[in-house]
Every structure is written in C-alpha cells, then in structure tokens.
C-alpha cells in the first residue's frame, strides 16, 4: 500500500470543544477519498489542518512519509479548492491560474497554463475577470489554479455546494473524470451523501469530531458500523437494535395482511409508503413495482429478508 497522506491521531480543540477528536486515516495515492458528515462534524477542520490553515492540537500529519503538521501552508505540496473558490478578483482567469506557478519559477508556465485551460475547458476565457464568468466556470478556474501546481493531494472543500442542483450533478461527473485523467489524489469534503457515494473510492464518515467509519461506498452503505452512519446515509426503519432500509421492505397482497397503509407518496423513481403495522410499529417502505394501488386505509403484508436486517448493539 502506498499511502500519500496519513493522519495519525490528529485532534483539534477550540477551547473546550473538540472539533476533531483523534482521527487516524490513510489515503492512498491516486485515490478519490471523501470526508462526509453533517455540518460541524469536523470534516472541514480536518481538511484545513492538512492544508496548514489550522494547526492540530495533537497528532501527526504525514505527506509522502514526511511530517508536515508544523509546516506553513506555502511549504506544503497540497492545494485547496475553496468552498467560495477564493479566486483573486483583481486577476484574470489566466493570472489566477499562473499565480502559484510564477512563484515556483517554472520555465514552461505558458505551456502548462494553456494545457490546464484546455483540461478544464476554459480556453478562450483567459482574459476574463472572475466577476465575468459563471459559477461553474469559477469552480473550474479554482480547480485549474490548484491542479496546475501538481499537488500531492488536492483538497476540495465542498466545491459543488455553491452551484445550483443541475449544474452540480453535471460537474460531479466532470470532477470524477478529471480526477481519473490527472491521477491526482483528491481529498473531498462534503455533507452531501449522494455526492460522496457517487464520486468516492472510499469514504470516511465523521460525526462530532470522530471518524465513525471508513470504507468503500458499498461498504458503508450496506454495512454501516454505527446507527449514525446507517441513518446518515439513508432513511431507516428502526426496530430495537435492528434497522431495515425502506427499499428493502417488500409489500405483497398474497398472504395475510399485517398492516394498514397510512400514506403513499409518489417520488418519481419510486413510491414511498408509510404504514402502521398491527403490532403498533410504523414502517416506511419504498417500492418501484406496485401490485395494484396502495391507497391510505388499504391493508397489505409488509415483510423483508432477514439478510437485509442491519443489527447494532
């Protein structure tokens, strides 16, 4: 295994508050890794510690095996795409992308910038100012500005959250294919589970400063280790220590009915049924194929395979 970035027991305390609590993590070279969690869970603080904007209260951060937690941001070969992009408003698209390169004294600045403009499809917009381009284009300038530095890890702080939903979905696809093409390790922070599930090779799910689970999207969705992980990634029916996802609940009319439909909501790709079981428990089911209609008040049989049960202690 070739870990490009290692977090070893890093913590960040703001006063009495433990924003990040002993997080350990290894990110492989070329991986698309997402830190997922609700706002305030510590994911952005973790990212900012890797970037060098916050110093860990304790713990170690290693980049290519070297400790970097005491280095200044300008001494670390990582680069950040900010949530608001933080483009320099007084510089053109071209000057924004050149900003970091000019510091390195690279000889082939013009060529590298041109290639980068092509890669993010901004050729022709070089001389525009940030105020003269769209939100999606701003995001691509921010990406290009960081990627052109060839960082060991690209840090992305909710880079899609400022865009409208349709554009967000489109750019999500572009981001993934861009990462594949450039082969740079991405550390992606988001609170959007769909984004994380669709983009990532692996996901680290954070809650209240603690890294709850790390795994592939299938892993954490199908085999959540904690109740929090299970509920954060999707709706759950809770029956004591047992949880069942709504899409695992089957509805049939063949056998004896054990519940009554309370409401039925059409969601496009599925129908969501809320029902009250005869034993007093309520249940949520999502089904795409409907045997007849299930109107409120109608009785039906609700069941699931034991294999779809998630058990927590």
């Amino acid at each position: 295994m070739d870990a490009v970035l290692e977090l070893i027991q890093i913590s960040k305390h703001f006063g009495a508050q433990r924003s990040v609590d002993r997080v350990s993590l290894q990110i492989q070279r070329g991986e698309f890794f997402s830190l997922l969690g609700p706002s305030g869970c510590g994911k952005t603080t973790t990212l900012r510690m890797v970037a060098g904007f916050e110093e860990p209260t304790s713990g170690e951060i290693r980049l290519n095996g070297q400790s970097i937690q005491h280095l200044k941001p300008y001494q670390r070969n990582v680069s950040t795409v900010f949530q608001n992009y933080a483009l320099f408003p007084h510089l053109t698209v071209q000057q924004n992308i050149e900003f970091g390169l000019r510091r390195t004294g690279a000889a082939d600045i013009a060529k590298r910038v041109r290639e980068m403009l092509e890669l993010v499809q901004l050729t022709g917009k070089e001389s525009r100012l940030p105020t003269q381009i769209s939100g999606g284009e701003k995001q691509r300038v921010a990406l290009a500005r960081s990627l052109v530095m060839a960082p060991d890890v690209l840090l992305l702080d909710e880079p899609l959250s400022a865009l409208d939903p349709n554009l967000r979905k489109q750019l999500r696809g572009e981001l993934k294919s861009l990462q594949r093409r450039v082969g740079i390790t991405f550390l992606f922070v988001t609170h959007d589970k769909e984004e994380a599930l669709s983009l990532s090779d692996r996901i680290g799910l954070m809650h209240k400063g603690v890294l709850e689970q790390v795994g592939t999207p299938e892993d954490i969705y199908l085999r959540p280790r904690t109740r929090f992980v299970a509920s954060f990634l999707g709706a759950m029916n809770w029956f004591g220590p047992v949880g069942v996802r709504p899409e695992a609940v089957r509805i049939s009319n063949e056998t004896a009915a054990n519940g009554v439909v309370q409401q039925s909501t059409f969601l496009g790709n599925c129908v969501q049924i809320g029902a009250l079981l005869d034993d007093g428990r309520s249940i949520l089911a999502e089904t795409s194929r409907l045997a007849g209609s299930l109107a409120p008040g109608q009785r039906a049989h609700f069941w699931w395979h034991p294999a779809d049960e998630l058990t927590f202690e």
């Binding site: 060098g52 941001p73 300008y74 320099f88």
Partner: protein, 282 residues
C-alpha cells in the same frame, strides 16, 4: 400624486441644500474670483482697474518654488501616511474584538486642539527639546540635531496630523477583504509578504487612493503646520496666501493664488476619479 406636484415638491426639498451651496460655497468663491481680477488697494482691500496681473505674477520663480515645495511636502507627507497607515490599518483590521478600541484611539487626537498638538511637536523637535536632550544625555550626539524649522519637521507634523485620514479608508477596505483570498495565496505558495504585495495591496487600491486624496489635499493647503514647524524657512503655498491677506496686504494676489491652488487640486481629483470609474473612491 401627479408629476407636476412631485417635481414641485422635489424643488422645495432641495431648496435648503441649494441655499447652503450658494451662500457658503458659490458666493465666497465668486467674491474671491472678483478680487483676483482687481488691483490691490493702498491699505489692503482692492481697487480698480480690472487686471490679470495677479495671475501673471504667479509665474515668478519665487512663487513657483513655493508651489513646488508645497507639492513635494504634500506628496512626501502622503507617502509617509501611507507607509505608517497601512500596517496600522492592517493591524486594526485583524485585531478582532479590539477593533473598535483601536479605531477610537486613532481618532482620539481630534479631541484636543490641532494647535496644541502642533506646539507639542515643537517641544519634541527643538534644539533643547525632548529628543535632542535625550540623545545628548545618552551621549549619542554632541550638538543638537537640526530637527525643527525645516521641510522634515513640516512633513513629520503633517504626517502626524493627517494619519487618521489615511488609516480610516484603508481600514475600511482591509476589513472587507475576504480572508480566504489570503489563505488561497498561501496555499499556492505565496509567502506572507508576497501575498501582501500581490493580493492585499492591489485589492486595497480604492482605499489607498481615497486615503491619499484625503491626506494630500489638506497637506497641500496646510498653513499652520509649516508656520509653526517650518518657522518661515519652509514656506508653503498656504502661508503665502495667508501672508497676502495679512502683512502683504495684496488681496488680489492672495485670491489668485487660492484659485490656482484650487484649480490644480480639482484637476488632480478629476484625473483620479476618472481612473477610479468603478466608484471605489470614498
């Protein structure tokens, strides 16, 4: 409400503003303009005939030197205010909850008389003043340094007096500066001073321009500071004008000087405003 009544109401509401402009600005200006085109009276004041002699006299090298010195002193004072004011404004903008305390400290000197504060500088700078006495006591110098009654003393006095006018507009632009831009600069490898030079200073340009105008213009017309700290050796155009209305008793020439100075300042301002078309100034 119909249009006619609206416009009539508008006229009435604007009337006080027009009256003030007329009585306090345009009328005195007209009087000065008239004076400048007349001949000096024997005991001050003015008399006929009408002439432009006051304006042609301005071309005399004696007066041009004073005008040039005024520009140099005002420019040097502006640069001085900028060099001191920028770090100060940056410090205040970054001091979190103490911002308001520091800002009130910047404004605090306005609570005492300008005259008294300028006198205080005389006590500091003169041969037997605090600075020279201390340096002599420490054995660092033998003879007192010539700190008072020269251009340097005037510049020090002006920088001291007008520093707040530079700090406040600079503070206003620095305070609005998005912090993530500084993080982005550092992230892209810029050391703090490089980030300062390539990001903070360019984005502060409107504040720098506004502050420079606010300092340069009063410095150009200053007369109390050069009078007290320049001691007659470092005469500025303000002293020259004052002199024409008092001991020289040449009102027309004093008026002409005032108008020319005003013309130059306005030309400079318009030039600056045109460059600053996005309205960053003030």
């Amino acid at each position: 409400m119909n249009r006619l009544r609206m416009s009539r109401l508008r006229t009435w509401f604007l009337a006080p503003a027009w009256a003030i402009t007329l009585v306090l600005f345009l009328a005195p200006l007209g009087i000065v303009l008239v004076y400048s085109a007349l001949t000096r009276g024997a005991y001050g004041g003015f008399s006929e005939p009408w002439t432009l002699e006051s304006y042609t006299r301005l071309m005399d090298s004696l007066y041009l030197v004073i005008l040039l010195r005024s520009f140099w002193i005002a420019a040097a004072s502006t640069v001085g205010c900028l060099l001191l004011g920028f770090p100060l404004a940056l410090f205040i903008a970054r001091s979190g909850r103490r911002k308001n305390l520091y800002l009130s400290l910047v404004i605090l000197p306005f609570w005492t008389s300008f005259l008294v504060r300028t006198y205080a500088w005389m006590f500091l700078l003169r041969d037997t003043g605090l600075i020279n006495a201390t340096l002599q006591k420490l054995g660092l110098i033998h003879d007192p340094l010539p700190l008072l009654y020269n251009d340097g003393a005037v510049i020090i006095g002006l920088v001291y007096s007008y520093l707040p006018f530079m700090v406040l507009p600079l503070y206003a632009t620095l305070e609005r500066l998005d912090k993530s831009l500084l993080e982005a600069a550092a992230d892209l490898g810029a050391r703090p001073w490089q980030a300062m030079w390539r990001v903070v200073v360019p984005l502060c340009a409107p504040g720098i321009r506004a502050g420079s105008v606010l300092v340069f213009i009063p410095c150009l017309g200053a007369y109390l500071t050069p009078d007290l700290l320049g001691g007659g050796k470092s005469v500025m155009v303000g002293n020259l004008i004052q002199n024409q209305f008092t001991s020289a008793r040449d009102w027309p020439f004093g008026s002409a000087l005032s108008l020319v100075l005003m013309g130059i300042v306005m030309a400079l301002l318009f030039g600056l405003l045109r460059r600053d078309s996005e309205g960053g100034l003030l």
